[in-house]
Symmetry: D2
Subunit: 340 residues, 4 copies
């Protein structure tokens, strides 16, 4: 893996089987679910990623919780060091408790806003202690379902205040806001890359940026190349990436590379061109495929696509853009992918 | 409720809080979840529905399972009789066990197909014993996610064979197939009303029809009035309805009536005109609203919309259609809804 | 109309029959198409709007072109004065010539960018002369269809430079950028309200804002209430509105009010609450309905919905929001729209 | 081209520039638009297709109309013979006259239904005379836009009667019904493959089948492999194909192969497996690319994808399906497309 341009990682919990609202007990034998140290060992021995991304585990009981927190941070770091794995992201869970169901940073309840900010600060503190440079904010429950359900004006301001307080808590830790159009809410507050950047402008702190989950953009009417260009053109605010695939209709969290081909190659062009140099994390829900193999397969697609871009060269691809002739481009890809 | 045209019902489990893939422990205090007899009492005392729809409970342990089955059928019936409630539908759970995750009637594994058929026969037997005229088939896990994942030809034939065997098991029990475009699969096998009717033609049994979940049609590019007309025009094969609402992008299972207004009134026109006389069941996921009140609110919207159709009269609405002039129609609704 | 809160207008050409890519000769008898003065007379005599919005007519030949320009500006103003009509918007046509097919402000061809800026300056000059406070920029051809088709980085900069030059040309004229997710391009450059505001921040001129076409937002996964709140919260940058309706799947430009009910009432709440005081223009394509009546019907829905908001009062609706209880809201609307 | 499995064709008018509702004068210099004989010569000399598909030209004035009809059939056939081109489809234009704007076979006006049937019979007569085995029915204007606009029950019956009369007119000519979810209507009557097959069952004539426009299915939530399997499993009713590409959101009619890769390869697998042996026509709108080159590029992608399937073999691909393991499949395609 030494020649890779990018550092690849995975959300640690992806190695376990997920559940959904229909199959609540999980898409696999519950006895096969593994704890945090078993998962680190699995990732380490598998050897396809350089980094891990983990939930923040705020409480004392590290035994049953799959994440990193005050009670297990040293052991987690030691276990990762053993395999040369970096902790590239810690993300506080902002969606997993029914008391968060109507929002966190944008909750109408000031107590929940305060708890949210404090939870995230603690995550930042742990991140700082274990040399993790980044925390991820995916506020799934922030948004609305019904007409007249929220006060859009106030929600915006609460978000600006909350994230600003977080940013000031430790300017050395980068904070990534992850947009998603909807689900679990009918409309998410942090919904698109441009809306997130607009909010970030109001927040006005250098350590706040965007985490691009490409599956969210695919089904959110966004083009991957363009949103990468916009986020990077905006003071290099693309801080992190989540990689998976879908059919542009909903967030299926499928194996990266299984659906789109040229679109993803174009994405790697723009990542190289804009100098992206941070982690790309596999983020999938392996409902019906082997989790570890699904992760590996996604990483191999990323390697293959980036190698394609490297071998062809930015110049050649840039000239296709300059030509302004889509027929040259489609011919180029036909010959490259399927032969003369 | 004596003057109602239709019989309204609800899926019993809707009175409890749901979970989803992000908030797996449930959108409410787990200690407040109730068992089957508590829920029947709740529905009975609330008094907004005439019927209940329940999962089939195949096993012996009726204590922790919310449904009706061999082990509790007499007690369930007695509890419902106490409140004058009818059991209008029993539905075998075809999505809740990870061994069903790649399909049931259309599984490539013959053992799973056999188990599925047998499970559904047992549900039919219980239905017959408790005077329930209908079983509901929503095969959420049947479909596919990835390219080249299933053999479409074989899947079709397995479905024809399986449902035909079921239909012949007891021709006095109606069987309703419920289409949904996708979720939890990227593509569902039973996906749209016309596709379901095409399959029903191949099955060729009189006791097989369609359960229309209007939310599925709304986000599946279907028009409610039209699919009701087609299903009823097809030998009155509309056997059951599931009622909720959404924004035409995904299956949000919101409170019926909360989003659409004129569209739902048009649906009630077509239900009356085509002589629909079966149950309409509330089918929602009350993630962030009170479940019992969400059910009641949906029923009240149904009553109000059907009353609107009755008061205006089929003749008046039929003349709007005959006029072929959408401006007459929109003017009519503007004046009716918002006043002169 | 004296009691109206808002000033309603219409795009003048809406009174004629449109065409589309399939019925290119137009959805009506070509002999019934009317010129600019006939249309002004028609609008004036109909008396449902206070304002008109018109294409900019750059050339000398005013006879066959439906718009306002150097050659007919005095006559147009005189004709409008006769009926007390205000010219509320002039919009340069940025999509109607095949030489614009690959973009205008964002064209890779500097000559086309220059022509575009000059065209728009001339439109601003005419606007100033006829007391029209606003020009509308809907750049339908700016965007892309194919992978690797445009240089997203350069396009952004060209847009910033071009609109800034325009804004400085006459700071007294407001310039409205109108987002639309797609069509005629696969991806539009000016695509959503937040992306437009992000661009406006880079442009950094006070006379540049947003024109919200609500149909574009409806099918672009946006919520009308929220985008109005965001644009108005952003230094009152909501400069103009285009009113029509659709089913959230594509830009059907149907009669306003014909599809959505509660959603549009919520929009009028947010317009009043955020102090919107500019024109709302009907913008429809009356393919198969009478154009003048389609316009009138849309205006009547706007009046009725705003009257509803006024009569109920901002306080009552604000309390529904404060309650945070969607069941209160849906009950309120059920009783108001369909009776107790 | 002698080794090709399939016969490729193109809709003749695709060689000219299209227009749309915004750029009504056409996406190219009007002086470069060509007539029917120039286009045949162009196609013949280009030599990328074996067949042509043409509009039916009912009137006497063949000079300005691009199609084939009573007045020019001999000359058209002679011109095509010169280049060895087959006339594989004639399609009556059912959308191009404003009197058809509210429908044709399903119009509420019996005179229009009669004119439609007669028009199509004349097209069949010409087809028979020039050895064209097929007529194409794409009824773009049949459907509805507004609530309560059409009587769904009557429309269905009118369609059954009309197409049956057509089928009986000449059982030797195949008739293909082409589904499309929407556009230009908000909801099309002939909308999906299964709905079309359900209608065909009611029509009950052997010479009525489906024309699959893959772009329509892509944005209509259908999977190409599955609908081919269903149509072919239904007595080989897949009669014709229209080839283009889009992003699954609307009918962009882009160059075939420019967007999707694995999805289209899967389609060629199912075409071979189900024994499809009819024409595949390029059907695109070359708004901003050279039309002739856009056609050629699409044909080359079809050749390359079918060659891929042939070289890999149906057995190998069939085993991927049998494995039921999407990871095997995605690995296979990664290695084939991007190398080990």
């Amino acid at each position: 893996m030494s020649e890779r341009k990018y550092k690849y990682s995975v959300i640690l919990t992806n190695y376990n089987k997920p559940s959904d609202r229909f199959l609540t007990a999980g898409y696999g034998d519950p006895s096969e679910q593994r704890g945090v140290f078993e998962l680190i060992e699995l990732a380490g021995k598998q050897g396809v990623v350089e980094g891990l991304e983990m939930p923040f585990q705020p409480g004392e009981d590290a035994g049953t919780w799959i994440g990193v927190g005050p009670s297990n941070k040293k052991e987690v770091k030691a276990a990762m060091d053993e395999y040369g794995l970096q902790l590239c992201s810690i993300f506080p869970i902002l969606w997993g408790d029914w008391r968060q169901a109507k929002g966190t940073f944008g909750s109408a309840d000031p107590a929940i806003r305060r708890q949210t900010i404090d939870l995230c600060k603690r995550a930042m503190d742990v991140a700082a202690e274990v040399d993790c440079p980044y925390i991820g904010i995916w506020p799934g429950q922030d948004g609305f379902d019904y007409y007249f359900e929220v006060d859009h004006r106030k929600v915006w301001d609460w978000w600006v205040d909350g994230i600003r307080e977080l940013a000031d808590h430790n300017p050395a830790i980068r904070i990534g806001l992850e947009p998603k159009p909807n689900e679990p809410r009918a409309y998410s507050f942090i919904s698109t890359v441009p809306k997130t950047l607009l909010l970030i402008d109001d927040i006005d702190r250098k350590n706040v940026g965007v985490c691009l989950d490409i599956g969210h953009s695919l089904y959110g009417l966004e083009n991957l190349a363009e949103v990468i260009s916009i986020a990077q053109g905006h003071d290099n605010r693309l801080f992190h990436m989540h990689m998976n695939d879908n059919y542009r209709a909903s967030d299926l969290d499928m194996v990266f590379g299984s659906v789109h081909t040229i679109e993803h190659i174009e994405m790697f062009y723009w990542l190289r061109r804009t100098g992206f140099d941070k982690f790309m994390s596999i983020d999938l829900f392996a409902y019906r495929t082997d989790p570890a193999e699904s992760i590996a397969e996604g990483v191999r697609w990323m390697e293959a696509m980036d190698r394609f871009v490297e071998e062809v060269g930015l110049d050649t691809l840039g000239k296709l853009i300059e030509s302004g002739d889509p027929l040259q481009t489609t011919r180029f890809f036909r010959e490259k992918l399927l032969g003369g």
